[in-house]
């Protein structure tokens, strides 16, 4: 066996530049410095760049029309001189009574989770697998394996939502008539309770976590004695996110509640009309409209990516909320229908830090002043001051 002299070979430099841009998945990179002779000096350097573009787009058009009706009114008990057997109209001798039941409506229109884009690693196939090895090289050799890989991910996410909610609530316990009865007549209408909710939640959401990653495996084995083996991996990750959300939200609530509009005419006797109370709460709420969630990219030092975070809070100038429009605000409105009194509106209010008494007292004082002035004019007596 001949003793192999040390042969200093010139570096075998393989420079591969591959710039690959495609919308499919990233390619794998396998580089190896293997089987070189004793005392050789070997180096492999690879530069790779990969660009992946992910485009997600949603369009949604939602049209909700909801009509709720409750009616216990509209009854007639007229021209009676005694009872007529109708269960809502009773009459003893000389007594006609119309009594309507309570009406309760609960209406809810809810749109949740419309238009969600989620750009995950598994979906985009943006991972790059890199395998570097320095194996089976002769003794005394110097072997260097260098990879520079750049992953570019461009994520385009857009949502467009047009949501229209049209709610009509109608409840009536009134509109009763009891006319031309011989005797006492009474009409008692029931209470009305109406609860109306229109909720738009989680509309137009983009979830855009870590754009890409590279997995590197290295192997140095089977090399002879006194070898110097080096594996270098430079990984660069660039992420560009383009997010767009457009939401047009229109929520209309028409609430018509009536316990009144009763008539009792031309009755021969005492007449009594008692109308029920009305309690109505309407809530139109827009929550989490046009949200973008992203995840910070951590350089591959063995740390795991963080959990999804919302963009930092912007200190936006306070604005008046738009009822039924786009945006992330919420609103509460209370409506009342016809009837005797409006029961507790229930909705919390900003603290009451004023008092109308001073204003009313000023008005009263001015009225008194003008009344006194009028009396002076009426008296016809000249004022003490004479004008030249």
């Amino acid at each position: 066996m001949y003793k192999v002299k040390k042969i200093f070979l010139t570096c075998l430099l393989l420079l591969i530049s591959a710039v690959v841009a495609h919308s499919a998945h990233a390619e794998d990179i396998n580089l190896s410095v293997a089987g070189n002779g004793d005392g050789s000096d070997n180096s492999v350097t690879t530069t790779a760049q990969d660009t992946t573009t992910v485009t997600q787009s949603n369009n949604a058009k939602v049209d909700n029309n909801q009509q709720t009706t409750a009616n216990t009114g509209g009854n007639t008990a007229s021209d009676n001189t005694s009872g007529n057997g109708n269960p809502t109209q009773t009459a003893s001798a000389g007594q006609t009574t119309v009594s309507t039941g309570n009406a309760t409506t609960t209406t809810t229109v809810q749109n949740t989770g419309i238009n969600t884009n989620s750009d995950t690693l598994a979906d985009c196939g943006c991972n790059t697998q890199i395998a570097q090895s320095v194996i089976n090289n002769g003794s005394g050799s110097t072997n260097t394996n260098t990879v520079s890989a750049t992953n570019n991910v461009v994520s385009n996410q857009s949502n467009n939502a047009n949501i229209k909610n049209n709610v009509s609530v109608s409840a009536n316990t009134g509109d009763n008539s009891a006319n031309n009865n011989n005797g006492n007549t009474s009409i008692t209408t029931g209470n009305i309770t109406a609860k109306t909710d229109i909720i738009n939640k989680d509309i137009n959401t983009n979830i855009d976590p870590v754009g890409s990653s590279s997995n590197v495996t290295t192997s140095i084995s089977g090399n002879g004695a006194n070898t110097i083996n080096t594996v270098i991996a430079n990984i660069f990750q660039n992420k560009t996110s383009n997010e767009s959300n457009i939401a047009n939200l229109l929520s209309l609530a028409s609430i018509n509640l009536n316990t009144g509009e009763n008539s009792a005419n031309n009755n021969n006797g005492n007449v009594s009309i008692e109308t029920g109370e009305i309690e109505s709460v309407a809530l139109i709420e827009n929550e989490h409209i046009n949200s973008n969630f992203y995840e910070a990219v951590i350089t591959p030092t063995g740390e795991t990516p963080g959990t999804p975070q919302t963009p930092p809070n912007q200190q936006v100038p306070p604005t008046m909320p738009q009822m039924g429009g786009g945006g992330g605000g919420s609103g509460t409105s209370v409506s009342s229908g016809n009837g005797q009194t409006l029961a507790a509106a229930i909705a919390p209010m900003l603290p009451d830090t004023g008092n109308s008494l001073s204003f009313l007292a000023t008005i009263a004082a001015l009225l008194l002043f003008f009344a006194g002035f009028g009396l002076r004019l009426y008296s016809g007596v000249s004022p003490p001051i004479k004008f030249a």
């Binding site: 809070n313 200190q315 936006v316 100038p317 306070p318 008046m320 909320p321 605000g329 919420s330 609103g331 509460t332 409105s333 209370v334 909705a347 919390p348 209010m349 900003l350 603290p351 009451d352 830090t353 004023g354 008092n355 109308s356 008494l357 001073s358 204003f359 007292a361 000023t362 009263a364 004082a365 001015l366 009225l367 008194l368 002043f369 009344a371 006194g372 002035f373 009028g374 009396l375 002076r376 009426y378 008296s379 016809g380 007596v381």
Partner: protein, 183 residues
């Protein structure tokens, strides 16, 4: 009869003028003879000062803004800090509210402390003193809202100061919100 009308008319006019003086005398004093500031500005543990309006008042913390029985008693003595909102130095929204008007027989130095709040313009200075620390703010916006628009009370908008009172002055129809950011 005409003689009676003459004297009665005079009496009515005089009486009405007396009522107007009774109502607006404290307001007259507020504008032309504003109360002087105490020598020791740390006399209260938590106080608010608006130099341009000669306002200086103690602030009471942790007041439930939805319970009138609670906050009305506090507002007779000064300004209330809404429970659940921030305090100076915490980096959260601070919500303070006080009367702009009250019943004529109730108007005192402290319970209509925000009577002149509508006069505050952008750039005006507001000074808060708490625990012997001074926090200065500058007004940057104002809004007139309905009482039901409580999102300004519920939502934390970062390190800003909101002053609230009723408007127009002498009524409780709407709410005036003045926004200031720290300088």
């Amino acid at each position: 009869m005409k003689k009676f009308a003459y004297y009665f008319g005079n009496a009515l006019m005089a009486f009405s003028l007396l009522i107007l003086v009774y109502i607006y005398y404290p307001v007259f004093l507020m504008y032309f003879f504003p109360p002087s500031l105490p020598k020791n500005m740390d006399v209260y543990n938590f106080s608010l000062e608006i130099p341009s309006l000669h306002i200086f008042s103690p602030v009471f913390t942790g007041i439930d803004p939805y319970n009138a029985n609670v906050y009305r008693k506090v507002l007779e003595k000064g300004i209330a800090q809404a429970k659940g909102t921030g305090l100076p130095g915490q980096g959260k929204t601070i919500f303070l509210f006080a009367h702009s008007s009250d019943a004529p027989w109730n108007i005192t130095r402290y319970n209509t402390i925000f009577y002149r709040l509508p006069e505050l313009k952008n750039g005006a200075e507001v000074v808060i003193r708490k625990d012997k620390k001074v926090y200065k703010y500058k007004v940057f916006a104002e809004r007139t809202v309905w009482p039901s628009q409580i999102q300004y009370l519920k939502k934390d908008s970062g390190n800003i100061l909101i002053l609230q009172t009723c408007t127009p002055v002498g009524t409780d129809w709407q709410r005036l919100l003045v926004f200031a950011r720290p300088v």
